[in-house]
């Protein structure tokens, strides 16, 4: 007998121009002791369903149809009553542990407040219960930590506190909305294990909302796939992932980078009828192609960077060592991966190579010239042309006040001021077509494009100067998995045909495996190991690499069950 029963749920948002159907006739059932994964790309309505269960749909959204039964209570029948179930019967875990705790109260106060709101307990009893809960979610020295403020906990610990808050009043249903998206891989696996354990121990019904197929395959019993508000497919996780019936599910599964092997290209299922052709790179005949000589294009030697946080004193106490004595070499025509968790200094290294930061110590050689010692602007321009970068956030990397053609034209005009208008326009068109955008895009503004398309514009801009080295700083981490597959395909094609050297920075090991020939692993600014991709994945030499590989969520793990 299912505990939560959602039937024919529809949620509409009445917007200025149209009504957005965030959920259309969704039917989902969840039993106790079961984890249901709710997966979909951004805008698919997965969070809307979660919010509808606790009646947290914001204006102008409205539940237009359908019922939600929790046991034998109809949730929407009596909206005033929802306060009694929220927290009491339903516990919630949000994405960002930084903002879901109130920073001015100790976690003890927050726990006691929640417990006393819902359960009729005296202060002493509530306190004991709170400490028990903290112990249950795996916080050491719970009696001491009880009196700490949220900022004294790390991200993972804070998410544990959030979970203990959600468990305060013995809920029977737990809704976790992207509970690990803001966390690093090693912490993610701990939190997922905790949720799994609690589900068994407390016999909870759990809805896990996520976009990460790896998390789904490792954690959930059943999975529901959503797209544009429609429930595409629902069934046991293993069945859905290994033998998807709907085309959308198929394309979603095939877009996920496999962790156990290197594939040539991602198969884009939506293009099934078309030939799986490579990108037609139109700028090829303009490109002054460099012969690949067997040489190191980039050499990083004993690079260090300290950030001085002190304003009044020059004490070294306040300085942060972001990069600590890192050395590596990138061969021309290769793609080199830089992997690490947040704060490992990988972006700082990239910014030093493009000369946005000056290194505190050490040198960077490009084509056997030391670029960190160049003083004159004119000298620097030669190298600016050859090193270009693609950024993580497609929304902040384009100036919203300029048209696409002006964005792409800027580097061309700067490095070739004598170019004629006709030539310029045809160059822009070729560039846009090379990144699979239409010529009509040139006259539009960035806000008219989706995240993936913006990233393509970024790539076009970076290619405009005909660089030899392209630095990609987490180019796909803000994108949905199917878009990620397309962008990665594009980058591969560009690299092959233009003989580009790529420095690929990512926290996502499966993606790096697909993209790179050699990989460097960073931890807290220090280099752990550099080795060939296949070697690193088969037998890592450093224990940190080993840990990362063990903990990363693997979509293939579903086959082993």
């Amino acid at each position: 007998m299912s505990f939560l029963k959602i039937s024919n749920l529809s949620v509409d948002y009445k917007m200025r121009r149209e009504t957005v159907h965030a959920a259309k006739n969704v039917n989902i059932e969840v039993s106790k002791g079961e984890i249901l994964g709710l997966v979909g790309e951004s805008g698919s309505g997965k969070s809307t369903v979660g919010n509808a269960i606790i009646n947290l749909i914001d204006e102008p959204g409205k539940v237009s149809n359908g019922t939600i039964f929790l046991g034998d209570i109809n949730v929407h029948k009596d909206p005033e009553n929802i306060v009694n179930y929220r927290g009491n019967k339903i516990g919630l875990i949000f994405q960002d542990p930084q903002t879901s705790l109130n920073p001015i109260f100790t976690i003890g106060e927050q726990l006691i407040e929640t417990i006393q709101t819902h359960l009729n307990l005296r202060l002493e009893e509530a306190k004991n219960k709170a400490i028990d809960l903290l112990k249950e979610v795996g916080i050491k020295d719970a009696e001491v930590r009880f009196n700490n403020y949220p900022h004294q906990f790390s991200g993972g610990m804070r998410q544990r506190v959030v979970i203990s808050l959600a468990l305060c009043c013995e809920p029977e249903l737990l809704i976790a909305d992207e509970p690990t998206t803001a966390l690093d891989v090693s912490i993610q696996s701990q939190i997922l294990d905790l949720i799994k354990r609690l589900t068994k121990e407390r016999n909870l019904a759990v809805i896990l909302i996520t976009h990460d197929m790896g998390v789904i395959s490792e954690t959930t019993d059943r999975v529901a796939v959503m797209k544009n508000g429609d429930l595409v497919e629902i069934g046991p996780t293993k069945e859905i992932l290994t033998n998807p019936k709907e085309i959308y599910t198929k394309s979603l599964v095939s877009s996920v980078p496999p962790t156990n092997k290197k594939i040539d290209r991602f198969i884009i299922i939506e293009k099934e009828n078309k030939k799986q052709s490579e990108t037609n790179i139109k700028i090829l005949n303009r490109w002054t192609k460099k012969e690949i000589i067997n040489q190191d294009l980039v050499q990083v030697k004993h690079l260090s960077k300290t950030f001085n946080d002190s304003f009044f004193t020059e004490s070294s106490k306040n300085s942060v060592m972001a990069v600590d004595d890192v050395s590596f070499k990138i061969k021309e025509g290769q793609s080199f991966g830089l992997v690490g968790e947040s704060g490992s200094g990988k972006s700082t290294i990239a910014k030093m190579i493009v000369n946005l930061f000056r290194p505190s110590k050490g040198d960077i050689f490009f084509d056997n010239v030391c670029i960190t010692k160049i003083k004159s602007n004119k000298e620097m321009m030669k190298f600016r042309k050859q090193i270009q970068m693609i950024f993580q956030d497609p929304y902040s990397s384009l100036n919203g006040r300029l048209k696409v053609k002006d964005i792409v034209a800027e580097p061309i005009k700067l490095h070739n001021p004598s170019i004629s208008l006709k030539d310029l326009n045809s160059y822009i068109n070729d560039l846009l077509e090379s990144v699979e955008l239409t010529q009509q895009s040139a006259d539009r503004y960035p806000h008219e494009f989706s995240g993936g398309q913006r990233q393509r514009i970024s790539i076009a801009r970076a290619l405009a100067t005909q660089p030899r080295l392209l630095i990609c700083d987490e180019p796909t981490s803000a994108l949905d998995v199917s878009i990620q597959a397309q962008i990665l395909n594009l980058l591969k094609d560009l690299q092959e045909q233009l003989n580009l050297t790529i420095l690929f920075i990512s926290h996502d090991l499966p993606v790096v495996r697909q993209m790179c020939d050699r990989i460097a692993v960073l931890k807290n600014g220090k280099l752990c190991e550099v080795s060939k991709t296949e070697e690193l994945f088969k037998n890592p030499s450093h224990e940190y690499t080993e840990e990362l590989l063990r903990l990363m969520p693997k979509i293939e793990s579903i086959y082993k069950l």
Binding site: N355, F391, Q392, S397, N399, L402, E410
Partner: protein, 308 residues
Amino acid sequence: MDNKFQNTWERIKESDVYFSFIKSPTAIISSVILFIIFFCSFFIEFLSPYDPFDPSTLSLMEAFTPPSWTEEGVAKFILGTDGQGRDMLSTILYGSRISLIVGFSAIIFSLVLGVFLGLTSGYFGGKYEMIVMRLTDVQLTVPSILMALLVDGIARGIISRELHDEMAIYVLIFAIGISEWPQFARVSRAATLVEKNKDYVSASTIIGVSNILIMFKHILPNIMRPVLVIGTIGLALAIIAESTLSFLGVGVPPTTPSLGTLIRLGNDFLFSGEWWITFFPAIFLVILAFSINLLGDWMRDTLNPKIN
């Protein structure tokens, strides 16, 4: 050309700003009032049968005529006349033109100065930023009226007496402008600090775009929203400041009266019962400043990315 214009109009109609404008009665009412005031002030020569600055058309016999709806009122002077027999309504509109010119010029002056200093100091940082920001702190500690009085005093010392009345309006613009720039500098510096850390600025740097081009082509258009909001509210403040200074007698001379001058002149007659001479310019000033402020508030709510 026609087509291009049409496209722009289509884009405006599609935009969220236009949508929020037609949904806000306050914004519509205040902009209609402002439009009427602007229109009447700048085309007063064609609208009014009187010229208050031509002494030959004035008749002292008609002085102190009360508003037309009172017992002694005359239909041809709707809001009555002042001590020299000038028609109040025409004089107010002529006066508001001067107030608006002074207000706009002063605010544009302080906007250009403040945004330039704020943008450059936010972008370059370091010692230059320190100096500029401390300068704004000092400027903010001096009350703007005092600052304006100081400028006026110095100007009186430098400029000869004959020239003084002619130059008065420029002195006033400079005095108000110089006391309003710190808020523009602060707002644009804060916005620049946010913008310069965005990736599009890094991307331009990596391409090799020069600092000046990055500042004025890339960052400046992106920080204009908050600056324009401050500018609108600042406009009301500038107009009030102009009136205050003129009321105190350091502003524009009585021969070409602004709203503040009119209020001061009327003030002398207040206790002898001729209330309309000071009342109508004052009420006009209130409506003008209030409408600008309401429009500014609407702009702040609409253009603020945090609220949307």
